[in-house]
């Protein structure tokens, strides 16, 4: 998914690319695809959000249910992203640096949330923690409500964003090898010093990119959270769920107002990605 290595500046004076009409035609076609298919929807979000006027936009954003959704989304991201970051770095170190039995199986389990439908992820948690679930009744007896409550939303978000940091950091660590770490250890650094002074700085771009991706998905997750949260307005509706609530109420302009905030998040994510690529190219 990520390419943190420099792009070689291939000039294309060769075979298939050397005819100017072919080159211009292909570039034009690709530009048409990207603008119609990707840029147009992105632009439309902002047009539809601001078409009723800035006053209406602001009224939609500052509605109590929407501000509650924004707070909930920020809270969920603030809890899940650090958890997945710590786990991701540990898992990447383990898998990049050690050979052990079951390594491939572990990697497959870490990747699994990428392959499982978010709805199935939510379903699994409902089956586990629901009223008739395997752990649900016991937890309810002890006063812990998971389904239709914050813990369920957090668990669902951790599941769907589980592989992001691990995968990005793993790619970087595997590409870099461990010669510097071995040198630091030989020179008398402790394991922790080596990790903080050598490993983390070396893997920083992969780490930042993984965190950014994890955050974008945590704030934007729909399917898994939708299944487990119950969509209660002002309580268990995150921003993407609030978009659906408003749309189902025929408040399309308000839905687009909330959607535009999420689109800004997407734009920031893309901008950070470009910056990282550019920084990684000129260290």
């Amino acid at each position: 998914m990520t390419r943190l290595t420099p792009t070689p500046a291939t000039r294309c004076g060769v075979a298939t690319g050397d005819r100017p009409w072919a080159r211009r035609g292909l570039i034009g076609l690709a530009a048409a695809v990207v603008s119609l298919f990707l840029a147009l929807p992105l632009a439309f979000v902002f047009v539809a959000a601001l078409r009723p006027g800035f006053g209406a936009f602001w009224a939609a954003i500052s509605h109590p249910d929407t501000t509650a959704a924004i707070r909930l989304t920020l809270l969920v991201a603030a809890i899940t992203v650090p958890i997945n970051t710590v786990f991701g770095v540990a898992a990447a170190w383990l898998i990049a640096r050690f050979e052990f039995r079951g390594r491939q199986a572990l990697l497959t389990l870490i990747d699994l949330p990428f392959a499982v439908s978010p709805v199935v992820a939510g379903l699994m948690l409902v089956l586990l923690f629901g009223r008739q679930g395997w752990l649900g009744p016991w937890l309810l007896d002890h006063g812990v409500r998971v389904v239709f409550a914050l813990p369920g939303i957090i668990l669902a978000t951790i599941f769907v964003t589980f592989p992001f940091v691990a995968r990005e950091v793993l790619t970087v660590m595997q590409a870099q090898g461990s010669a510097e770490e071995e040198a630091a250890l030989t020179l008398g650094a402790s394991g922790w010093q080596t990790f903080v002074r050598v490993t983390l700085p070396k893997a920083r771009w992969g780490l930042i990119y993984g965190i950014i991706l994890c955050n974008a998905r945590a704030m934007g997750e729909f399917g898994a959270v939708s299944v487990i949260s119950g969509h209660v307005r002002g309580e268990t509706s995150t921003m993407p769920l609030q978009v659906e609530n408003l749309y189902n109420d025929y408040h399309a302009p308000a839905a687009f107002a909330v959607a535009s905030l999420l689109a800004v998040l997407a734009l920031l994510t893309l901008a950070v990605r470009k910056t990282i690529e550019w920084r990684a190219r000129s260290p």
Partner: protein, 275 residues
């Protein structure tokens, strides 16, 4: 080969990773499997193969196949242009390719629905032509193509960048037409990446929910995808029915994940053979 236990940190990272994978992935998986095992055979079979479920599989897998195939065509074009040509706006195009990864699926669904419905910017031009998209199977396919768009581009683009231009020059010098050069020299080299991209886009499309619920209209038997049917069953408190459908989807995900791993190994071998 990683050094065996020369580096510190095996025990703590193993403990942390094992705990996290156990709680986050294995425990919920076990919950679903146990729930399914507690169903008796005929009940499972009836829930998993009801006419409504079969119609939802046909739509989910059919639309995902079409979407992944469209992504191969569009993705190859965009990857080729990004890898081979330098032109104004190239950086912007490169950044936009990742938009479907970054944009929440609910936003994508909402926007595509508004654009392609009868009075939308695009819908008002194509609906009079007899091509309704919103609330049809075409709409489902459109949403799935959108969410899977980056996979083929990002799988193929680095492979095209790594191709040795001398191979193509040699083919041209030996009298091959540009078409022959592409078919005999370039295409075999990028085939594993194309297949990997196709499978990744397909796997993503099969599980997709957020963007489709808006644009499909969710009519049972017509535009209802399997993930939506699972949600419906849960809302009807039909936990067993939802678990049966979820197990079918999970089985497909496992098979696809295995397939992707095998494809990537195939690609690595082909790449190694070429260097």
């Amino acid at each position: 080969m990683p050094a065996r236990r020369v580096l510190p940190g095996f025990a703590p990272t193993m403990a942390l990773t094992g705990f996290a994978v156990g709680v986050v992935v294995v425990l919920p998986l076990a919950g679903l499997v146990l729930q399914t095992l507690s169903l008796d055979g005929p009940a499972f079979w009836n829930a998993a193969t009801s006419p409504r479920a079969l119609a939802s599989y046909r739509l989910t897998f059919g639309a995902s196949l079409v979407a992944a195939a469209l992504n191969v065509a569009l993705g190859l074009l965009v990857a080729w242009v990004l890898a081979r040509y330098r032109f104004p706006g190239r950086a912007l195009m490169d950044a936009l390719v990742d938009l479907p990864f970054a944009l929440p699926t609910a936003v994508a669904g909402l926007t595509l629905t508004a654009l392609y419905s009868g009075d939308g910017w695009v819908g008002r031009f194509i609906e009079p032509l007899g091509l309704p998209v919103a609330f049809t199977r075409a709409g489902v396919t459109l949403a799935l193509t959108f969410v899977g768009f980056p996979f083929v581009v990002r799988a193929v683009q680095p492979v095209i960048e790594d191709l040795d231009p001398r191979m193509e020059e040699a083919a041209a010098v030996l009298g091959a037409s540009p078409g022959q050069t592409f078919a005999r020299v370039v295409f075999p080299a990028i085939l594993p990446a194309l297949v990997t991209g196709f499978t990744l886009a397909f796997a993503r499309a099969v599980g997709e929910y957020g963007s489709v619920v808006f644009i499909s209209g969710n009519m049972p038997g017509k535009t209802e995808i399997t993930p939506f049917l699972i949600v419906t069953r849960l809302e009807e408190y039909d936990t067993a029915g939802a678990a049966a459908l979820g197990t079918v989807m999970l089985g497909v995900s496992f098979a696809l994940l295995l397939g992707i791993n095998m494809l990537q190994r195939w690609g690595d071998r082909r790449g190694a053979g070429r260097r």
